[in-house]
């Protein structure tokens, strides 16, 4: 992975000093609340319900075990011994003290980490595919380009006060595991007919209040033009994006209001002035950064490992875990393992300091000392020998990260919700737990198969509910917490937005609702048909009929009350 040199290190060190002084001035009354807000936000520091929350960047999801141990240490030293992995490859601490944040940042800087631009109206942490560099379906390794974008965006002086937050995701595989269609800019690393690397550039995707899929503004951008083209897009957005209404300030609204053709013409006109300028990438720089992402020293191994396959035959629980939590690897004899942070009873994405340390130890032993973070809020050991899988499974069970549910119903994506977040209309964590508890039969879960449930506590959609096969959105109804349900959303290249099935539900109804939706699917599916395909084929009506049938009286009462 990327290693800082003295320049990178100086930048994060000077940031710590800058923020230490900003915090001091705030505490001394030299900065007002309003003046301090954008400064702390650009350092990932929110003021939450109970305490400040610090969001730390895990650029494109890569962590060394040294960094992971520091994240554990910070959880122990400044927090309550745990942390939360988010849906954007960040990690959050929910209980730090404001005065301690500069020290936390200094500790992070000591392991080449930071909280720079993890919040605020600026370019956020660049995200990518958690299987980058090892995926069997990869066309181009996106990591060097994600790192280049990280550097380009870090303290970009022109784009620190944008109309609204700005998120960039990079994908280099056939499948899109980075959600690029739902980012302000989606970058697809591709190859042209001659094999040269370039990018397909998408703009204007996003979830939130107005979910929209991104549009292609450029089918192929030769890679040396990456920065100048991004500069052109950001400049058009910075100049013309709306600033009068924060709900209409994202670039997706600008693209919509101008129309794709005019927006693209503006970008191209701006780019004509920047193209081939000083920011044009050089082969030397691409090579310098790419050299950090070469393959580790893989052993030459047979593709098939008899011992591993025996364990699969003899141990059903292991076999199940393999079928859900082990991902194909480009290197013969290796596999990628997803450690599930979705154990029933634990908030999705939460991990304790001891668990993080244990994962670091395991990664040092079996996966070249690296760990990855997925936007599904799980951890990945990317380079595990098949012969080590059984031992990894046993260790993962000890840690509590071996729930065999990746991509299954209980692998719920959820934001922290009303338990922590001051923006939330409703809680997310208890809803996730109620659903997980209802579906406690592993046979049934495997029978249901691939399904994504996403829960967001408000319209900001941190739980990406629009793209959940079943999406759950917390809404406020006369001061009470209710939940709106959508069906048929999906991520990936054929991404779609879910459709609302009808009036919202009370929190204690949610497990019943999901149970009925699933029962409808199980009854009406064709053999081996996934939930999403069934939902697409039959539409929302059969689900609606089932869910609202016995609720008819409630619905009537609710309608009467409105």
């Amino acid at each position: 992975m990327y290693k800082y040199d003295q320049y990178d290190q100086t930048i994060v060190d000077e940031r710590v000093a800058q923020f230490r002084d900003q915090t001091r001035r705030f505490l001394a009354g030299e900065l007002t609340e309003d003046e301090f807000r954008p400064l702390r936000l650009q350092n990932g520091l929110y003021i939450q319900k109970h305490a400040p929350m610090l969001r730390v960047a895990i650029p494109y999801g890569l962590l060394s075990t040294r960094q992971l141990r520091m994240l554990a240490e910070i959880a122990r030293k400044y927090d309550r011994g745990y942390a939360h992995f988010t849906t954007r490859q960040n990690i959050q601490y929910n209980w730090p003290k404001l005065e301690a944040v500069p020290d936390m940042l200094a500790d992070l800087a000591s392991v080449e980490m930071h909280a720079i631009q993890t919040s605020g109206n600026c370019i956020r942490n660049t995200t990518s595919d958690q299987f980058a560099g090892i995926a069997y379906d990869e066309l181009v390794d996106p990591r060097p380009y994600a790192e280049l974008i990280r550097q380009w965006s870090t303290f970009h002086p022109e784009f620190a006060y944008l109309p609204r937050k700005f998120k960039i995701a990079v994908n280099g595989a056939v499948e899109d595991r980075a959600g690029t269609l739902f980012h302000d800019i989606g970058v697809h690393a591709v190859r042209d007919a001659a094999g040269e690397v370039g990018f397909r550039i998408l703009v204007g995707g996003g979830l939130g209040r107005t979910p929209i899929l991104g549009h292609v503004v450029r089918e192929y951008l030769p890679r040396e033009h990456l920065f100048t083209y991004l500069d052109a897009i950001l400049r058009v957005y910075n100049r013309f994006g709306r600033r009068d209404n924060m709900y209409k300030a994202r670039i997706k609204i600008l693209v919509k209001e101008l129309g794709l053709n005019r927006f693209t013409a503006e970008v191209e006109a701006e780019w004509a002035n920047l193209k081939d300028g000083a920011s044009t990438l050089t082969q030397a720089e691409i090579d310098r950064v790419a050299a950090f992402f070469v393959d580790p020293q893989y052993a030459v191994l047979p593709a098939i490992n008899a011992e591993f396959e025996n364990h699969q035959l003899e141990n059903k629980a292991f076999d199940r875990w393999v079928s859900r939590n082990v991902f194909g690897h480009k290197q013969a004899g290796y596999a990628a393992v997803t450690l599930s942070l979705k154990k029933t009873g634990i908030a999705p994405g939460d991990a304790t300091d001891a668990q993080l340390d244990a994962v670091a130890d395991l990664a040092d032993r079996v996966s070249f000392g690296e760990v990855r973070v997925s936007h599904e809020q799980n951890l990945i050991l990317a380079d595990v020998r098949k012969s080590d899988l059984f031992a990894v499974w046993q260790k993962a069970k000890e840690i509590g990260f071996a729930t065999p549910n990746i991509g299954l119903l209980t692998d719920i994506i959820a934001c922290p919700g009303g338990d922590f977040c001051s923006l939330a209309n409703a809680k997310s964590i208890p809803v996730a737990e109620a659903i997980q508890r209802r579906f406690d039969d592993l046979d049934y879960l495997f029978d249901i198969g691939d399904i994504a449930i996403n829960i967001s506590g408000c319209m900001n959609a941190c739980g990406h509910h629009h793209v959940g096969h079943i999406g759950i959105l917390g809404v406020d109804k006369h001061g009470a917490e209710f939940y709106q349900v959508t069906i048929g959303g999906s991520q990936g290249l054929n991404a779609a937005l879910g459709k609302v099935i009808g009036p919202s539900f009370a929190q204690d109804e949610m497990a019943d609702v999901v149970e009925k939706l699933i029962a409808t699917y199980v009854e009406l599916r064709f053999e081996d048909e996934h939930f999403l395909d069934t939902a697409k084929r039959i539409g929302i009506e059969p689900f609606k009929a089932r869910v609202y049938d016995r609720k008819a009286s409630h619905v009537a009462a609710e309608t009467a009350n409105v």
Partner: protein, 181 residues
């Protein structure tokens, strides 16, 4: 309560070229569209619409003239006139309004403006580093803030990744040359 009356003779300070100096420019207020502005004697920074409406009168005064752009105005509107100005000021109505950073970049990089580029309005210490990068060399720090304190922000960072007006070469073109950092 005793009201302090603003006096014309009261000295205002700005940061220019990394120094706190007394400023002898007057900022003419914005006027309604179509109205004729009164042009007092002295070094005047006028709103864009006054410049556009009274270009001849302003050039005939034989005194240095400056113009100020609001954040929603376009640098292109003075692209052909930049050589007329001793000062171009860019107004930040709120510090969160970042349009002025793009206006400054365009004035310097595209339209070749080389005179004083001044940030006015809600200009606070922690914006100054970025403002300096995009080509501002003068800062009318908000009057209730300590301008000497604000000056420190110009040295917040000694290394920057991306090219901008102050250093067009991105770090990757300087990286192996420590003497240029």
């Amino acid at each position: 309560m005793l009201q302090r009356r603003p006096q014309m003779s009261e000295v205002r300070y700005i940061i220019r070229d990394r120094e706190v100096i007394a400023d002898d420019w007057q900022l003419a207020p914005a006027i309604a569209e179509g109205a004729a502005a009164h042009l007092p004697d002295g070094k005047l920074i006028v709103p864009l619409n006054v410049w556009l409406a009274q270009t001849d009168a302003l050039t005939d005064r034989k005194q240095p003239v400056g113009v100020w752009l609001d954040s929603n105005q376009d640098a292109a509107d003075i692209a052909n006139a930049v050589s007329n100005f001793a000062v171009v000021a860019v107004n930040f109505p709120k510090f969160a309004d970042g349009r002025g950073y793009s206006i400054a970049t365009q004035l310097r990089s595209r339209y070749g403006y080389e005179g004083e580029l001044r940030a006015i309005g809600d200009v606070l210490r922690d914006q100054l580093f970025y403002m300096q990068r995009v080509g501002f060399n003068a800062f009318a720090v908000r009057a209730d803030k300590d301008i000497h304190d604000a000056l420190k922000a110009l040295k917040d960072f000694s290394v920057t990744y991306q090219g901008s007006v102050d250093q067009p070469l991105p770090l990757f073109k300087r990286r192996r040359l420590p003497e240029l950092v």
